[in-house]
């Protein structure tokens, strides 16, 4: 088996494992770590899928910036081990099985559908031969070209969005919620 394929499975499993850590770990820091692992594993998957730039961004932005932000605030808030960290919402007794069953059914259905139609994914593809791919695909140059020509507006727009988020954060941080008398 090709090493890449092996890694593909491994990364996939690690991503899932990381997610499970998030779901099950008692302490939020542990959970955040799990999430971080999951993200890094995903970065690996991206790399195998030839989305090199995204893989890099994943590591830098997601794992680097966002997760650090979250962990930082987790630390900042200095959350003691409290009830709500240890147990799950009461909903879990009804919601859990339903969700699990749904997921299983979902994936089972997915498999049966795709099993009945082996070449489905390659049929789906819009390129002539999806099995082949130019080496340069996913490179930073092509990616940047696409981003700054075809998706230039989106790029600009998202910058405005960031600006909006900054305003939003600032406005919230300036707030103080005083109790209303009749509350």
């Amino acid at each position: 088996m090709d090493f890449n394929i092996l890694m593909y499975f491994v990364f996939g499993m690690v991503a899932i494992a990381g997610g499970l850590v998030l779901l099950f770990a008692k302490h939020p820091i542990k959970g955040a770590m799990g999430l971080l692992v999951s993200m890094l594993a995903l970065a690996g998957l991206y790399a195998i899928l030839q989305a090199h730039s995204i893989a890099v961004f994943q590591v830098i932005i997601y794992a680097g910036a966002i997760m650090v932000l979250i962990i930082y605030f987790l630390m900042l808030l200095d959350i003691k081990s409290e009830d709500y960290l240890k147990s799950y919402a009461k909903l879990v007794w009804t919601g859990g099985p339903i969700l699990l069953l749904l997921a299983i059914f979902f994936i089972y259905k997915l498999y049966t559908v795709f099993k009945g139609q082996p070449g489905a994914l390659s049929d789906m593809s819009t390129v002539v031969d999806p099995m082949t791919v130019p080496e340069s695909f996913g490179g930073i140059k092509e990616f940047s070209t696409a981003l700054l020509t075809k998706y230039m507006f989106a790029f600009e727009f998202v910058s405005t969005l960031l600006f909006a988020a900054i305003v939003a954060v600032i406005s919230i941080v300036q707030l103080d919620w005083r109790g209303r008398k009749n509350d």
């Binding site: 789906m124 819009t126 998202v158 305003v167």
Partner: protein, 507 residues
């Protein structure tokens, strides 16, 4: 339809709005130094700054609207696709954008009083409002899923903050976090759906995607794209608050400042519905999958109508009641899609309804804003008791709003409802239509209950005088919306034509 790279006239609304945002930011940034330079200290008081900000914002937004009204009119004739399939512009979208701007202006107008009485930091508030409006504008123009997603977030993220901006109420924060978390959650669904659609068609452009989806043979691709459509529907259904994706609505509406509630309930809803229409109601049918989509629309819209109208019955808080009513209205709009007829009239009906809904809901919330001042927080039905005595004008407007929301002639709500039922009956969905009608009867009960409370009950405690603070803008907003409600009810033809044009653009 032309496809050109960039033509500023077609984006005049967005551009001038961004310009306004820049101006507002600059003013906010340099305000203190400037005033300090001139040695005045008064302006640092919240009230004065609030007033200044609201004046600036409302005049600015009016300028934006006028600007777009003048320049955009030229674009109304043709429709083009801009910026590599990012946006579609021109045609009847003009009216949609104007309607959204109108909603924005009304919100800004009524906010002036509200920011004062609730001591909300005004400049941030108006900036965020403008951002959100910008998101709404691009959302209805968005031509690919990327832009849809970005605009949706652009519209939502400022609102997450705006909901939390009510300084005096701790519930405001609760609402904000509720909206944010659930909004992110729903974005997840939307994106999953988008990714599946992308996966099966290889494109993010809406028209391409819809065009390439084939459900003639139920294969794996159909399976994925079907799921994709469903998840996209869920993501958008959250925004328009259809049951059971509605649950945030009442809580957030209650906690948010009333003008924000108003804005949310109309602009977000209309924009999100525009997207739903763009994706689901287009000329290209989904083949065999149409029936599934139709059933889904019927099912969810119907339970939305039932749930919204029922729970509104037991509400004591007017804002919550209006929240449930807005849920129910989403249901009515959704019902029009249930036949999945892929007709331009369906789209027209929903758009008309949405625009009419802007006017009437703005009116209802506007009255609440009008009646809210420092000492009298007007939210519950008890607060409204006997209000017709102190504020007959406001009570009259509330009455008009309620009748319009209930769908009684000759207000705009009636014309809207008629169109919806035309769609339903043309689609031969008789039972659905009858159920929907019955529940609009239930709705009538709680709408007229408001009127009963205002006109026919005695107030429990002496009602204080309505504060004079910043009344003019609120009056202006009320007058505008009541005018629209009545005029569109009496002379709906122009709007009907415009919404038809807009519907053409959406296809």
């Amino acid at each position: 339809m032309n496809e050109i790279s960039f033509n500023p006239t077609f984006l005049m609304g967005e551009i001038s709005l961004i310009a306004l945002i820049v101006i507002l930011t600059l003013v906010e940034a340099f305000q203190r130094p400037i005033f300090a330079f001139f040695g005045t200290t008064d302006t640092r008081e919240l009230d004065a700054r609030n007033r200044q900000a609201s004046r600036l914002a409302s005049i600015g937004l009016m300028f934006v609207a006028v600007n777009y009204y003048i320049f955009g009119r030229a674009t109304a004739g043709e429709e083009i696709i801009l910026l590599h399939n990012s946006l579609k512009a021109g045609g009847g979208m003009y009216i949609g954008k104007l309607a959204l701007m109108g909603a924005g202006i009304l919100t800004v107008l009524m906010s002036s009083r509200y920011t004062l009485s609730q001591q909300i930091p005004a400049m941030d508030y108006y900036l965020l409002l403008c951002f959100s409006l910008l998101g709404a504008l691009t959302l209805i123009a968005a031509e690919n899923f990327l832009m849809i997603f970005l605009s949706l977030e652009m519209m939502s993220i400022p609102i997450y903050a705006l909901v939390g901006l009510k300084r005096l109420s701790p519930r405001s924060g609760e609402s904000a976090i509720k909206y944010l978390l659930l909004g992110g959650f729903s974005s997840g669904f939307l994106l999953l759906g988008i990714s599946f659609l992308y996966g099966t068609t290889g494109s993010l452009v809406v028209s391409d995607v819809i065009g390439r989806l084939t459900f003639s043979t139920m294969d794996a691709a159909s399976f994925l794209s079907g799921l994709g459509l469903i998840f996209v529907f869920i993501g958008l259904a959250f925004k328009v608050s259809m049951v059971p994706f509605h649950a945030w609505t009442p809580d957030v509406y209650e906690g948010a400042g009333t003008p924000i509630t108003a804005f949310m309930s109309v602009a977000v809803k209309l924009a999100a519905f525009a997207v739903i229409l763009k994706i689901f109601a287009g000329m290209d049918s989904f083949g065999e999958f149409d029936s599934v989509i139709g059933v889904i629309f019927m099912f969810f819209s119907l339970i939305t109508v039932i749930y919204g109208n029922s729970v509104a019955l037991v509400q004591k808080n007017v804002k919550r009641m209006l929240a449930y009513s807005s849920i129910a209205h989403a249901g009515y709009m959704g019902l029009a899609l249930a036949p999945m007829a892929h007709k331009i009239q369906t789209v027209q009906a929903v758009l008309f309804y949405g625009i009419g809904y802007i006017a009437m809901n703005m009116l209802a919330f506007g009255v609440l804003v009008y009646l809210t001042h420092k000492d009298h927080y007007c939210e519950t039905l008890d607060d409204l008791k006997g209000i017709a005595r102190k504020a007959p004008g406001a009570a009259a407007m509330m009455t008009i709003a309620m009748f319009s929301l209930a769908g009684l002639p000759p207000a705009v709500g009636f014309v809207g409802k008629v169109q919806i039922f035309i769609q339903l009956l043309e689609g031969k969905m008789y039972v659905t239509a009858v159920i929907a009608l019955l529940f609009s009867l239930v709705a009538l009960y709680f709408y007229i209950n408001v009127i009963v409370v205002m006109y026919m009950r005695e107030p429990e405690k002496e009602i204080k005088e309505i504060g004079k603070q910043s009344l003019l803008p609120v009056w202006l907003s009320l007058a505008l919306s009541v005018l629209v409600v009545i005029l569109l009810g009496l002379i709906p033809s122009p709007l009907l034509q415009w919404s038809l044009k807009w519907a053409e653009v959406l296809f």
